[in-house]
């Protein structure tokens, strides 16, 4: 029998992609469609004193302008319902949306943006997550800037220190980055005569978009249809609603199809990013290279809203000990609000930050002990039957085999002995 599994088959739609026939979000078009634009906050943290859209509304060619008052349910979020679709009394970062406009041309929509009058009362901003944790730091939501604290406790960390011959400490930090899909966010909404709302969008999770739209617009799910176009890259950045509520509301208001494409600048300023992390590691080892204790304290800059910040941090904490057998582990992760860009989902979801931190830290420990970094890893690597600090016992763990095969590809600095398990 021939098998289809394991065959090197090219993508099913590659022929459309290479001939320019694949229809992406940015390619959507309808006769008579309107073009939308979003007004963003001019300040990182401020009270909204006045919002007047009269002049924009009166500009010829403008079909509709929406503000917070037009959103039936102006709140969203995954673990924390802390984010408005359009700002109400306050703005919390430079990407906060204040109003959205639909006009007969992109030019008119852009011009109308400048005619919206906003009066702000600036509030002190906080941009450093460590400072934001101080009790007297300006507050972004409610009483505390610490949006969540995640804990992992495994074994007995004090016992671990007492059994260690050597203790190594490092602080490592990672930067904020953008998904930078080459296709920006782009979508088109249309409403038919029966009131059926259809959104064509370049996204990763159509069913989440649909349920969130249903809650925000207060329209039942059977009257909302989300269809995914060809997607020009996602990487987690197209994981949640962004523009869809605006264009749906504008389409409902005008009865016309409405399209919105973010500019590259909006992609950077107003969509989610990879969270910057500050990771403090402390590890205890025996002279022979056996890891016996590891403590990690992680501070994640959430930005202005939690979005996927808590779930990202929790995945980071779960993997905070790295791919090693360590009997005593203590991990604390803090998610902290600031007036920076919102951290969201991005390929690796917290683990790239921790992966950088624990692997550089691991090399540092190996050096202190005078052991080759590969040998040190082999000595402590997870194997079949090992536990993670969650207590979960792992079944299939070909970690040493990946080490062996990586070495086979480009070699290593020294010969190492591969035990049976690694084969």
């Amino acid at each position: 029998m021939t098998h289809v599994i394991g065959q090197r088959i090219p993508r099913h739609d590659a022929i459309l992609q290479v001939t320019g026939k694949a229809e992406y979000g940015i390619d959507l078009a309808r006769r008579g469609m309107l073009h939308a634009k979003v007004l963003r906050s001019a300040l990182p943290h401020a009270k909204l004193l006045k919002l007047d859209t009269t002049r924009a509304r009166n500009l010829p060619g403008v079909a509709a302008v929406i503000t917070a008052a037009d959103v039936p349910n102006n709140r969203f979020g995954f673990t924390h319902l802390d984010q408005p679709l359009l700002a109400e009394d306050k703005v919390r970062y430079r990407g906060d949306a204040i109003a959205a406009i639909a006009a007969d041309s992109l030019k008119t929509a852009e011009e109308a943006l400048r005619l919206i009058d906003v009066e702000y009362e600036p509030l002190p901003g906080i941009f450093d997550p460590v400072q934001a944790m101080e009790p007297d730091a300006p507050k972004i939501h409610g009483e505390s800037n610490i949006a969540s604290h995640i804990k992992i406790r495994y074994g007995d960390i004090e016992l671990g220190w007492s059994r260690s011959d050597e203790i190594v400490e490092d602080t490592l930090t990672t930067q904020m980055i953008e998904h930078a899909s080459i296709e920006p966010h782009a979508a088109l909404a249309e409403v038919d005569g029966r009131g059926m709302v259809t959104v064509h969008s370049s996204v990763q999770r159509p069913f989440l978009i649909a349920t969130d739209l249903s809650k925000i617009l207060k329209i039942p799910l059977n009257r909302i249809r989300v269809v995914v176009t060809a997607v020009g890259g996602g990487f987690g950045g197209k994981n949640e609603i962004t523009m869809e509520p605006y264009i749906c509301l504008l389409a409902l208001k005008t009865g016309k199809p409405v399209k919105l494409v973010y500019t590259r600048e909006e992609e950077f300023q107003a969509t989610t990013v990879r969270h910057p992390y500050i990771v403090k590691y402390k590890s205890g080892v025996k002279k022979d290279g056996t890891l016996v204790a590891r403590q990690a304290r992680i501070v994640s800059d959430a930005g202005a809203y939690v979005s996927w910040g808590e779930s990202t941090l929790s995945k980071a904490c779960i993997h905070g000990a790295g791919p090693y057998r360590i009997p005593n582990v203590k991990i604390d992760g803090y998610l902290v609000y600031t007036n920076n860009s919102i951290g969201g989902a991005m390929r690796g979801f917290g683990v790239p930050q921790l992966g950088f931190a624990h692997e550089v830290h691991t090399d540092h420990i190996a050096e202190k002990l005078g052991i080759d970094p590969l040998e040190f890893r082999l000595k402590n690597a997870l194997v079949d039957g090992s536990s993670l600090p969650t207590g979960q016992v792992l079944e299939s763990v070909p970690l040493k085999e990946t080490m062996r095969q990586a070495v086979q590809l480009i070699g290593w600095k020294k010969e190492v002995a591969w035990d049976e398990k690694a084969r």
């Binding site: 001939t19 320019g20 694949a22 899909s181 080459i182 020009g232 890259g233 590259r264």
Partner: protein, 162 residues
């Protein structure tokens, strides 16, 4: 703003259109003429998604006023080959999995075509140089480079029709 009537030659076909001096070629191609195979990823000349060939040379159409493309031959991805008659580069991109999301592919293919037209036996470095103005966030470029090599080989062996 004054509109002017101009003629654009795209993929061997002539179009008479009205353009304003500031209208960019990428928008005219996509929005007025429907050549949406030309993509737009930045609008600042950095990503290369909008690459077209102008008299055989790769150009970022997001930086070029449409007026300046008068009396020149424009090739867009639609002019490179069709699903029925693929250019060897397109064939090689498919077979080598050089496309993932595919958004960079039109620009990438046209930059590669300009290279192969000028140099039928490019080295790996020459290939990397030729596509260095085309950003790809998905593939790591490995399979793209491999595809261009494969196409070059196919074309010089004569089993392709450039």
């Amino acid at each position: 703003m004054i509109e002017r009537q101009i003629e654009l030659r795209v993929n061997g076909q002539s179009f008479t259109i009205l353009v304003k001096p500031q209208d960019l070629l990428v928008d005219v191609l996509r929005d007025q003429l429907g050549f949406t195979g030309t993509k737009k990823g930045c609008g600042t000349g950095e990503c290369g998604a909008c690459t077209i060939l102008l008299d055989g040379k790769p150009v970022n159409s997001c930086l070029m006023p449409a007026l300046r493309a008068r009396n020149k031959d424009i090739i867009t991805i639609e002019g490179l080959g069709t699903p029925e008659h693929l250019h060897p580069l397109q064939q090689a991109f498919i077979e080598n999995a050089a496309v993932q999301c595919g958004f960079c592919a039109p620009g990438m293919l046209l930059s590669a075509k300009a290279l192969l037209d000028a140099n039928s036996h490019p080295t790996e470095t020459e290939i990397r140089q030729a596509i260095s103005g085309n950003l790809c966030r998905c593939t790591g470029y490995a399979k793209i480079v491999q595809a261009v090599k494969a196409a070059a080989q196919a074309m010089t062996q004569g089993d392709g029709n450039p």
